[in-house]
């Protein structure tokens, strides 16, 4: 069963800014990679703080942020059911074909 966040604030987090996940693209052409999270009042502040916290050593050329509570994740309790069955399905790997020489560098 998936649980959802309720909107009623509990005492521990009522005064905290929401959490944001930060994704940084290290250079043009590469994908954005998750690198951490931070607290910020809104998206504008989250982008600025992400720049200051996660790109200060030239790590990035672009930053994405997304509210952590907007991420839908698979249930750790269902890990076995979800992921273990693919363990022995070796035929799903595209390694049983002889490639024509013309596409050798695919």
């Amino acid at each position: 069963m998936t649980t959802t966040n309720t909107s009623s604030p509990d005492s521990a987090t009522a005064t905290e800014w929401p959490l944001w996940e930060v994704f940084v693209r290290s250079k043009a052409g590469l994908d954005h990679k998750h690198c951490g999270s931070l607290h910020a009042a809104d998206s504008g502040m989250a982008i600025q703080l992400a720049r200051d916290v996660y790109t200060r050593r030239q790590e990035g050329t672009s930053v994405w942020v997304v509210r952590s509570d907007q991420i839908v994740a698979s249930d750790p309790g269902e890990k076995g059911m979800y992921f273990d069955p693919s363990e022995d399905k070796i035929y799903r790997h595209p390694t049983f074909y002889v490639l024509p020489a013309a596409v050798d560098h695919m």
């Binding site: 607290h39 502040m45 703080l49």
Partner: protein
């Protein structure tokens, strides 16, 4: 034995470079005082980043000033071994850091000024200075945006944050006229193509500040009749204390490095 002070030649070009270099140096020191004291971890890192940007700019400028001065003084000697009267930063940047609202309003004012100075210095007749400006202007633009963002949040925030921001603005605005006071040093720099007269930047600075304050729902204060004189080397009572803190190590352990 304590290290004696060095003296600089009061040439216009040297003073012009030191004004800018000392502005970055002293403001950098003030912003760095937040290290470990930021309101949140992320902002603590942001402030420290900006302090280091300013110190980096100061290093380049003091090195250039030392070359213009021609007495073989390097950046460290100029940063740590001058007497108070030989520092030429405007009084604005030496005032104690105050609360977070004070720091953010001042950062917005100073970054806006520096941004306009750097933009003009990009076409300086001094190629070295132009190169320093080309790098620094990007840093100043970010500092301005960062501070302006906070001024809007605080000025248009809670009753308490608004009260503090208004109080900071009222105090800091008294030090604005000095920034744009014309004098012989600026005239000489303008004539030589070294850099702009700060007086000529007033209009652009005011336009930026009006926008920043409007976004924070704050009124632009009346111009003060008070004239501070830091750019002439005559400072507030706060300058001696910040210099004592900055200079202590170099004075006690001459040439100390790490």
């Amino acid at each position: 034995m304590p290290q004696a002070s060095i003296a600089i030649r009061r040439e216009p070009a040297v003073q012009y470079l030191l004004r800018l270099g000392d502005t970055c140096l002293i403001l950098g020191q003030r912003v760095a005082e937040w290290c470990g004291h930021g309101p949140i971890l992320e902002e603590d890192i942001a402030l420290t980043n900006m302090a280091l940007d300013l110190i980096g700019q100061a290093r380049a400028l003091l090195t250039r000033a030392g070359q213009a001065d021609g007495q073989g003084h390097d950046e460290d000697q100029l940063a740590f071994l001058r007497d108070e009267r030989d520092y030429f930063n405007p009084t604005l940047v030496e005032l104690p850091r105050g609360d977070f609202a004070f720091t953010m309003v001042r950062n917005a004012m100073a970054a806006t000024l520096l941004k306009h100075v750097w933009e003009r210095l990009a076409s300086s007749s001094d190629a070295e200075l132009a190169a320093i400006a080309g790098k620094a202007v990007k840093e100043a633009r970010y500092h301005q945006q960062h501070a302006a963002d906070w001024v809007a949040r605080l000025g248009d925030g809670t009753a308490e944050s608004r009260r503090r921001t208004q109080a900071a603005l009222a105090t800091l605005w008294r030090y604005v006229p000095e920034l744009f006071a014309p004098d012989a040093v600026d005239e000489a720099a303008q004539a030589a193509g070294l850099g702009p007269r700060w007086a000529d930047l007033r209009e652009a600075w005011m336009a930026d500040m009006a926008q920043i304050l409007a976004a924070a729902d704050l009124a632009v204060p009346q111009e003060s009749a008070f004239r501070s004189t830091g750019r002439q080397g005559v400072h507030s009572e706060h300058m001696g204390y910040i210099l004592a803190e900055m200079q202590h190590l170099q004075r006690s352990y001459p040439g100390g490095a790490w």
